[in-house]
């Protein structure tokens, strides 16, 4: 599919008044050159690649718009998103083309002709001029859409359709095409009839590869923009739906179809995506991940309900959705499990709760505390996403040596130790008072130091300081975990003084 006036269509769609003739210019090699133009401008004899100065010399009042390649790219991607309604396999062909693999999809729209007509009609309604060609090969369709008579090339006739096209239809750069033209080769047939070796020597392999691809002698896969789902189900509506309840109902209904497919394969879904195709062409994609393979459509619905609840604003239904597609992007083997007759094992309910939290807040926010094999307090435990913590090898919690009646580790630990002012009687002795958040606490009991040196094998610069931890209790009963960073005289030379930090609070 070729969007032949992508840039100008984009600008025309935006502007309120209709301007028949204008050009889009960009600075190429230091000169302002025309990169796109409207049909009206083309009728005046202007061409892409022409210098703006030349064009202005002929038509002094020619309206000009600055090129915006990023916006063009975005529009192309949006159109690709929208084309997802025809087939899940859509490939980008920048700057202004798309490849759609409609194998096996066309009958859903009443055949290839009907599909192409539908596509062009809908794009035209959106103000986009498109030329569509359907052929056996990607290269053939590309050439026919741009240089031939757009339409359907019946199976097996691609070769015949491509041969009369000019060389440029082979997706070669302008220079190669010009060189070939000067040597008298104007159309593909001229090239195909001649021996290959001299061309390979003169223009490199790419020219012949393009030729083979167009004629179907070499295979060319379309690189899909989006990952292909393992299974999907979709529902179209003659009248767009806009209510959230309807959307969720549709998702549940599709979920049932999807689950049936997964069931037959003995699989469950780990990652689901709902694509909501808005009537005006925008596509919303919602994704939910689960902790364990899921094949229960009511739960799928529930998870999307959470997702929609947080995305309410980002997912404006506008005029409504005319198509909803549910796909299982990642699936996993899921063997049916024998449930107990008592049926009171709530492990599954917990898994579902974690999934719902994940759907609403992101799976990274539901965590379990998994002990790690290090003695540095802040790294001794990692917050691992709950759905992944089962796979994570958990180091048996090698308990810290307990030499006190009280716990030697705090119940709350600050992510970033808080700087405090502390005074000690002797430089490397325990503190006798400290000030935290503007309040002074007199210490009556202190246990320590517990000396924790940082891991020198991870420390290239050698500038990490040893910490002396103290468990202290204040006169009011506040129990805190303080440390002094740096050893007197050895790591910190006077007159510098070590800093004190509060790292955690005991119960």
């Amino acid at each position: 599919m070729w969007l032949r006036r992508l840039s100008t269509d984009r600008i025309e769609r935006r502007s309120s008044e209709r301007v028949e003739i204008f050009v889009v210019v960009a600075s190429i090699n230091g000169a302002q050159r025309i990169t796109a133009l409207t049909d009206g401008a083309a009728r005046l004899g202007l061409k892409t690649g022409m210098g703006l100065a030349d064009a202005r010399a002929r038509y002094p009042k020619l309206p000009v718009v600055e090129a915006d390649l990023e916006a063009d790219q975005r529009l192309l991607e949006n159109i690709a998103d929208w084309c997802d309604r025809y087939t899940p396999l859509v490939g980008l062909d920048p700057p202004d083309g798309l490849f759609l693999d409609v194998t096996g999809c066309a009958h859903l729209f009443g055949g290839e002709t009907a599909l192409a007509r539908d596509l062009v009609t809908r794009l035209t309604q959106q103000g986009l001029r498109a030329r569509v060609a359907v052929a056996d090969t990607v290269g053939g369709a590309w050439g026919v859409a741009r240089y031939g008579k757009p339409g359907i090339i019946p199976r097996g006739e691609t070769k015949a359709a491509v041969l009369p096209l000019p060389i440029a239809a082979l997706r070669v750069d302008a220079e190669t095409a010009a060189d070939l033209r000067t040597s008298g080769l104007t159309c593909v047939a001229d090239l195909a009839a001649r021996p290959r070796a001299p061309f390979a020597a003169r223009f490199g392999k790419s020219l012949l590869l393009r030729l083979d691809q167009a004629l179907g002698d070499a295979d060319e896969p379309i690189v899909p923009r989006l990952p292909l789902p393992a299974a999907m189900a979709e529902q179209r509506f003659p009248e767009p739906i806009a209510r959230e309840a309807d959307v969720l109902g549709t998702i549940e209904h599709l979920g049932r179809q999807l689950v049936a497919v997964l069931d037959r394969r003995g699989e469950g879904g780990r990652l689901f995506q709902a694509a909501l195709f808005r009537a005006d062409g925008k596509v919303h994609r919602l994704e939910i991940g689960t902790g364990s393979p899921l094949r229960d459509s009511a739960r799928v619905r529930k998870l999307f309900e959470e997702r929609l609840a947080v995305l309410a604003d980002a997912c404006d239904p506008g005029f409504g959705y005319d198509m909803v597609r549910l796909s299982a992007l990642v699936t996993e083997r899921c063997d049916p499990m024998q449930t107990g007759l008592a049926g009171s094992d709530h492990a599954e309910e917990l898994a579902h709760l974690i999934d719902r939290f994940g759907a609403r807040f992101g799976l990274r926010r539901v965590t379990r505390l998994v002990p790690q094999d290090t003695h540095i307090p802040e790294y001794a435990v990692a917050a691992v996403p709950a759905h992944a913590s089962k796979q994570m090898p958990s180091v048996p919690s090698s308990l810290v040596e307990q030499d006190s009646l009280s716990a030697v580790r705090p119940v709350r630990l600050f992510n970033r130790p808080e700087l405090i002012e502390a005074t000690a009687q002797v430089p490397d002795g325990p503190p006798i008072s400290f000030r935290w958040r503007h309040i002074r606490h007199q210490i009556t009991h202190a246990e320590g130091p517990e000396r924790i040196a940082l891991e020198w094998w991870h420390d290239d610069q050698g500038n990490q300081l040893t910490r002396d931890y103290f468990r202290v209790e204040s006169r009011a009963g506040v129990r805190a975990w303080l440390y002094r960073e740096g050893l007197y005289d050895r790591e910190i030379k006077p007159p510098d003084r070590p800093q004190w930090y509060l790292h955690g609070l005991f119960a």
Binding site: S344, H346, A347, E349, L350, L353, I354, R356, F357, R360, F361, R365, V366, T367, R368, L369, V370, P371, P377, A380, V381, A383, A386, S394, S397, L399, V400, E401, Q402, D403, S404, L405, S406, A407, R409, P410, V411, R412, L413, F414, N415, W436, R437, I439, H441, T444, H445, E447, R471, E473, R475, A476, G477, V478, R479, A480, G504, L505, F506, A507
Partner: protein
């Protein structure tokens, strides 16, 4: 009526009685479960901290957040037993302001961190939602949620919802215990069954002058079922039990006792 179904009538009468005098509340089979604290408090609470209810905790000053979290975790440890799960809900801001729950510390304190699920949400409103869902889930023994400041979003309506959710979620595994920690004491109205203000108390030093077991100075400011009061209690993290705080030293635990949280001797 008569002999055919005496049970409903009896229940109705019991309920009427309970409305007149809460201390006469009937011990309905299954519905009423309690988490025992220390003796004098249990009497005021009518046996212990009621399950299937919401309880509010707040530190008297911000630095007492450690003690408040400790008390909440101690109650959760008692409510969850050996196997059941506990959910901790916090906001990003609260975790930055007061630190997050620390695994090794929890293990030593008697609440196994392997059974704790930690959820961090962006906004205080989300805490309410997550707590409600957690209380409804029958797989969780206890939900602890915390909010910075007074927790203004947890108003009367919100706490009422939470209290109802706590009552609904009760199952064989779930005691339906909701503990809401506000980082600052408040006098906002709330539907919680009890409201506690918590400060740490000086611990009883061990034989060598070191810091003893965690002690809490609890003020029960609001109690729907009985009198308020103020007590000092001690948490024994080996036995997972509260004890009234004694002013005399207690014998050190025997080294060959049945092991719960292993006590490793240094040196």
């Amino acid at each position: 009526m008569g002999t055919a179904s005496p049970q409903p009538t009896l229940n109705r009468l019991r309920q009427t009685l309970a409305e007149i005098d809460p201390s006469n509340a009937p011990r309905l089979a299954g519905a009423e479960r309690l988490v025992g604290l220390a003796d004098p408090i249990n009497r005021a609470l009518g046996g212990g901290l009621a399950c299937a209810a919401l309880h509010e905790l707040a530190p008297t000053t911000p630095i007492h957040l450690g003690a408040t979290s400790g008390f909440a975790l101690a109650v959760a440890a008692r409510a969850s037993g050996e196997r059941r799960q506990v959910l901790w809900v916090t906001t990003d801001y609260a975790a930055g302001e007061g630190g997050g729950p620390y695994g090794p510390g929890l293990d030593l304190f008697g609440m196994a961190s392997a059974r704790l699920l930690v959820l961090r949400v962006p906004k205080p409103v989300d805490v309410l939602w997550a707590m409600e869902e957690g209380l409804r889930c029958r797989a969780l023994a206890c939900v602890i949620a915390e909010m910075t400041g007074e927790g203004a979003v947890a108003d009367l309506t919100a706490t009422r919802r939470l209290a109802l959710a706590a009552r609904e979620g009760v199952s064989a595994q779930n005691s339906g215990l909701g503990l809401l920690i506000r980082h600052k004491i408040t006098d906002m109205p709330s539907a919680a069954a009890t409201r506690w203000e918590i400060a740490p108390a000086l611990s009883q030093p061990d034989a060598y002058g070191g810091i003893g077991r965690a002690r809490f100075d609890l003020s029960l400011c609001k109690n729907r079922r009985g009198p308020s009061g103020r007590w000092t209690i001690e948490w024994d993290h080996h036995e997972r039990a509260f004890q009234p705080a004694l002013s005399v030293g207690v014998a050190a635990p025997a080294l060959d006792r049945p092991d719960r949280a292993p006590l490793v001797r240094a040196g």
